[in-house]
């Protein structure tokens, strides 16, 4: 397996947000992690890529234990993280953003970098005419494409994405998820955190559902897609069994079957 997470716990200061998450990804599959806001999805990715220290558990990348490594080392080890809100380098051109994406490969052969760049541009042809444009002036969707392309420049073995669809028009969401599907077909292992459950189900092979810092459901995308418990996890309650007192909600189950 390319990425194995066992009992990962992490948080901010005294606040533990992630309470022992297990997750496996590999074999060129697209794994989606979904859940309502505040479920701990972003924290999971931040702990995965070393942006925040793990307070427990292990992370194994391509067989090597990388728990506790900083993001710089993980980037070299083959993990590319496309962060929340894209975080492209705004005053740099698209071209330069891509060049920096290959920073860990800067001492490698130039031909390899050129090839990675060509592949990324083939995946997102919209970027091609904008290579000399300053990244900060592009639309949200284009910035998201650039952020993914930048991640691909490092030629990673695992690509993790934090909410690639947030704030984008449905058409662009489709475009981006189609691209992710292509990458999966090319054998890249992907982990995408998503709030847009439907978009995630449409392309993912395997889905983890998170709630309050833990994985509460996991399974094959096809099986889970029709599971009413997923809807319940989104519109609140149901899964953890400790909802605030209130009347039962007929509307949610119905919505889930739409």
């Amino acid at each position: 397996m390319s990425l194995e997470v066992r009992g990962l716990a992490a948080g901010y200061g005294r606040l533990e947000v992630l309470h022992g998450v297990d997750l496996t990804a590999g074999d060129g599959r697209l794994v989606a992690v979904i859940g309502a806001n505040g479920a701990g999805k972003t924290t999971l990715l931040r702990a995965l890529s070393g942006l925040i220290p793990a307070s427990g558990g292990t992370v194994t990348l391509a067989g090597a234990d990388v728990t506790g490594s900083g993001p710089e080392r993980l980037a070299r080890a083959g993990l590319a993280h496309v962060p929340e809100n894209r975080l492209v380098f705004p005053s740099l051109t698209v071209e330069d953003n891509l060049v920096l994406g290959a920073y860990t490969r800067r001492r490698g052969p130039a031909a390899e970098r050129r090839e990675a760049r060509d592949r990324a541009l083939a995946l997102f042809p919209r970027l091609q005419p904008r290579l000399q444009q300053v990244a900060g002036t592009m639309s949200g969707g284009e910035q998201q494409m650039l952020a993914i392309a930048r991640g691909l420049m490092a030629q990673p073995t695992v690509l993790v994405l934090d909410e690639p669809s947030v704030g984008l028009a449905p058409r662009l969401v489709g475009e981006i998820f189609t691209a992710l599907g292509k990458l999966r077909d090319d054998g890249l292992t992907l982990v995408a955190v998503e709030q847009n459950a439907r978009a995630a189900f449409a392309v993912a092979d395997h889905v983890y559902v998170m709630d309050r810092g833990a994985v509460v459901l996991e399974g094959d995308a096809a099986t889970l897609a029709s599971d009413p418990r997923v809807t319940a996890a989104f519109l609140g309650g149901g899964l953890s069994g400790d909802t605030p007192d209130g009347p039962p909600t007929p509307g949610t189950a119905e919505a889930g079957q739409r």
Binding site: S49, L51, G70, P71, E72, A75, R76, A80, H81, P83, L87, V88, F89, P90, S91, L92, D96, V99, L100, G101, Y103, T104, R106, G136, R150, A154
Partner: protein, 289 residues
């Protein structure tokens, strides 16, 4: 009219020195968020090392190289010993730390080079007069070197991978780490740049404005004002800010009062910061090196 031209020209050459110091502020601030209060001391140290190297018989060019190298080492040591070890760098901590380094460096210069101000031998002594405006060769040298150095720094940030990596750290530190850029190394590089540029400023200024252990204080402050006029995040802004400050100072000295020369910078600082925090030439809060 001749007066005006004379003052503007003198202001430009003085402003070029401020511009170089300002570039040092910008280099460090964008990457590590630290205002390096020892930036002026880098310049003073550069000047003093060059003077003593010439005094001990080295040719001028070699002396300049020695001076720049010395200050570069000092800047790198400063980063490793005082900036890198701090886990949570707040404004207060960074100010006190760099003030400490600045004070220590000042005293060290006083101990080693004594209390008197001296001037470095100019590259070409003397000058000439054009249409009533008298120009010293050294002033032309200052302008030329400042132009070359700022162009080189600009080129570094715009064209080289290392420079772009520094800009990436300044703009999106999280994303920079995710693509594998080390923030620690970036901070070190920024101090190295600041040290070199500062030393060059000190060496160039010395023949005209003289150097003493104390000259870093006002030079550093003027450099800071210049950098702030340019918004603190842009090399271009820093250069323009330096030139503007130099000219305004000389006009004040010429038309109002010589004594008020030093007050101009700070009045300008306060007015600009209160009225336009992103600087006179800054367009937005966005980091733009």
């Amino acid at each position: 009219m001749v007066d005006l031209l004379q003052l503007v020209f003198a202001g430009l050459s003085q402003g070029a020195v401020y511009a170089l110091v300002a570039i040092g502020f910008v280099a460090i601030f964008t990457v590590s968020g630290v205002i390096n209060l020892a930036q002026g001391e880098f310049a003073a140290l550069g000047g003093l090392v060059a003077i003593s190297a010439v005094g001990s018989g080295l040719p001028l060019l070699a002396a300049v190289v020695v001076a720049v190298a010395t200050v570069a080492v000092v800047a790198v040591l400063m980063e490793r010993l005082t900036i890198a070890p701090v886990k949570r760098m707040t404004t207060l901590v960074s100010l006190i730390l760099t003030l400490g380094v600045s004070t220590g460096l000042k005293a060290l210069m006083l101990l080693v080079y004594g209390p008197d101000a001296e001037g470095l031998t100019p590259i070409n002594p003397g000058g000439f007069t054009v249409g009533g405006v008298s120009i010293r060769y050294q002033e032309l040298w200052i302008l030329a070197v400042a132009a070359v150095v700022s162009a080189a720094v600009y080129w570094f940030y715009e064209r080289t991978l290392a420079g772009k990596a520094l800009r990436a750290c300044a703009e999106q530190p999280v994303a920079a780490r995710l693509v594998g850029i080390s923030l620690g190394r970036a901070s070190l590089t920024a101090f190295l740049i600041a040290g070199c540029v500062g030393a060059i400023a000190g060496v160039m200024a010395s023949p005209i404005y003289f150097t003493s252990w104390e000259s870093g204080l006002t030079l550093g402050l003027k450099g800071f004002v210049a950098a702030t006029l340019g918004g603190l995040v842009s090399v271009r802004g820093a250069v323009l800010g330096g030139l503007l400050l130099g000219v305004l100072e000389n006009l004040t000295a010429g038309y109002v009062s010589t004594g008020l020369r030093d007050a101009v910078a700070f009045l300008l600082l306060i007015v600009v910061l209160v009225a336009r925090p992103s600087g006179v030439f800054g367009r937005s809060a966005e980091a733009r090196v």
